[in-house]
């Protein structure tokens, strides 16, 4: 996981590049790191371009991150989901919870314009 702050949209947006797998083995790591990142911003983009596998534990963690961001009046948007990972989001109805964008750039831009968020 790589985290960096992007200020191109005005307010700082936390960009998290997810690793190849988010599952029971590393989801707690993401959970802990997210609490730490919340100190910098409550607006996040999870760049899923490198994510190839997610299980229910990973999915639960991402939903939990979304909840934490929403509690702080922020948001968590997903970008560049591959077809396999999108299938899991669709199957579990998690797709309805998130704003999903084709690329991380589009997701960052959406934080600048409330109309597209």
């Amino acid at each position: 996981m790589i985290f960096n702050l992007d200020k191109s949209a005005g307010n700082p947006v936390g960009i998290v590049v997810l690793s190849v797998r988010v599952d029971a083995h590393n989801s707690s790591e993401l959970q802990k790191a997210f609490v730490h990142w919340m100190q910098y911003t409550s607006s996040f983009v999870f760049d899923c371009s490198g994510l190839d596998f997610i299980d229910s534990s990973g999915l639960g963690t991402i939903v939990s991150c979304l909840r934490k961001a929403l509690e702080k009046n922020g948001d968590l948007k997903l970008a560049a989901l591959n077809q396999k990972v999108a299938l899991v989001f669709e199957l579990t109805k998690a797709k309805k919870l998130f704003s999903i964008f084709e690329s991380a750039e589009e997701a960052i831009k959406s934080f600048a314009s409330p109309m597209t968020a």
């Binding site: 299980d55 229910s56 299938l87 199957l91 579990t92 109805k93």
Partner: protein
């Protein structure tokens, strides 16, 4: 008229990426294997003999279709080389083809036809040569026509190549939504557009919207919705509050709680988006998983657990049996009977000693309450001839033989699942309850069901 079905590996290579263990000819289209559609068509075309040849093993197809007596035709099997052309394949089967008219179906094909039409006369009169062609294969007639009048290939006859996961999905949906009446599909239905198999449990709060097809041994749990355009195979569980829409759920699949399956194929733990030709193998058993039939280890575990329970019961009940049995025999309240029962589903027979206890009086009531009437059956569990719990033993009656072929899951037990569920012992109902638990039960479930049977038998007014 004869029919030669030729299938080669290149015709179905795509299947391996999705359904690894299914032979292409057994690929289910609306819960009916593709081979059956081809056989149905061959019969309509007047075939009395069918030969299936392939460059790979046909053992699964042979096991399913056997010698064809189920359809009233003769089915044989053969092999070809992968590089053999259509003509070489025909030449290699000259003994089968002889000089007769042969309908040659080559490729993994689905033939659209009308069941109302008799194609026999037409195929006897059409000239030799290819009559239908698609990218996935062809249908050809060989041999000279026996009738003089020559007809044309009717419009409704066309081919659908089953050459991709998308082709397979679209074809299944086409059959279900447009042509379900035209092909004989498995299942029972009191309403048009809805076919339901045997041993299907649908929760009262579940919704089923037609057209849909549901196979055998299916559980649809509370709050689930089966939307129109859905095919559910056999041995499937749809857990609570899940929605299945316009999808195919293949055999032996568990769909977890609160999931949404829309326009997908689910095969065990594999979720397939046919449109995008993408699939993912789930590793979460509570999302999607394959329902595995108990193998040798499962049976061994079950048998061991049953033997342990039987041993414990033998130890606990030995003393009461030694005291109460002679007393009740002297009082005339204990009557032993030795009868012949079916001891397995293949029709094996064996003698079982059962007892009838009259409940009147303290000793009779106590003996019945602790199921002493079944005590003499317990050693049979230790030898593996009976389960501690299972189907109600069926008595052999030479005048009215039991339809054991209907009882694929028959395994007699000291106690029956129907007893555990306090189900009235009225033949068919008992069979259904026993069948349900034989399919869906687990070794641990058997322990709790045995306890339930022991407790519920306590409330019986007579024994056994």
């Amino acid at each position: 008229m004869k029919t030669l079905i030729i299938i080669r590996k290149p015709d179905y290579q795509w299947i391996g990426g999705y359904f690894n263990e299914i032979h292409p000819l057994l690929l289910p289209l609306c819960n009916k294997p593709l081979a059956e559609y081809l056989i149905d068509f061959a019969i309509l075309a007047g075939a009395s003999e069918i030969r299936i040849i392939s460059d790979t093993s046909l053992s699964d197809v042979e096991q399913y279709c056997e010698n064809g007596s189920r359809w009233g035709v003769e089915i044989s099997y053969g092999s070809i080389h992968s590089d053999d052309t259509l003509q070489t394949a025909i030449d290699k089967n000259r003994r089968f083809c002889k000089e007769e008219r042969v309908l040659v179906i080559s490729g993994l094909l689905f033939i659209r036809y009308s069941k109302k039409r008799d194609y026999k006369a037409l195929f006897e009169s059409l000239p030799e040569g290819e009559i239908l062609h698609s990218e996935g294969g062809s249908v050809t007639l060989t041999g000279n026509p026996s009738a003089k009048e020559s007809g044309n290939v009717p419009e409704e006859l066309s081919l659908a190549a089953v050459d991709s996961i998308k082709g397979y999905f679209d074809l299944s949906m086409e059959i279900l939504q447009r042509d379900a009446d035209n092909y004989v599909l498995p299942g029972y239905g009191s309403e048009e557009g809805c076919l339901i198999g045997r041993n299907v449990m649908i929760s009262k709060s579940a919704e089923i919207r037609k057209p849909c097809i549901i196979g055998n041994n299916v559980q649809i749990h509370a709050g689930s919705v089966i939307n129109s355009g859905t095919v559910i195979g056999s041995n499937v569980i749809i857990d609570r509050e899940s929605t299945i829409s316009g999808s195919i759920v293949m055999d032996d699949t568990y769909i977890g709680e609160k999931l949404d399956v829309t326009s997908k194929i689910v095969c065990g733990s594999i979720l397939i988006d046919a449109e995008a030709m993408t699939s993912i193998t789930m590793q979460d058993p509570h999302l999607l998983t394959e329902i595995k039939q108990p193998g040798y280890t499962g049976h061994l575990l079950q048998g061991t657990l049953h033997a342990i329970i039987a041993f414990i019961l033998l130890m606990v009940l030995a003393l009461p049996f030694l005291i109460l049995c002679p007393v009740l025999i002297l009082q005339g309240k204990w009557i032993n009977r030795k009868k012949t029962y079916f001891i397995n589903r293949t029709g094996g027979k064996g003698k079982l000693l059962t007892a009838t206890i009259e409940r009147r009086g303290f000793a009779g009531a106590l003996a019945a309450a602790i199921s002493l009437d079944r005590f003499m059956l317990l050693p049979k569990v230790l030898t593996g001839r009976l389960g501690i719990i299972g189907s109600k033993p069926l008595e052999v009656n030479p005048k009215a033989p039991m339809p054991l072929n209907r009882m694929a899951t028959y395994r007699p037990g000291v106690f029956s699942y129907a007893e555990a569920e306090a189900w009235p012992e009225t033949g068919a109902d008992t069979e259904i309850v026993d069948h349900y638990y034989r399919i869906h039960g687990t070794p641990l479930n058997d322990v709790s069901m045995t306890m339930k049977a022991l407790i519920n038998r306590n409330h019986e007014t007579s024994s056994p």
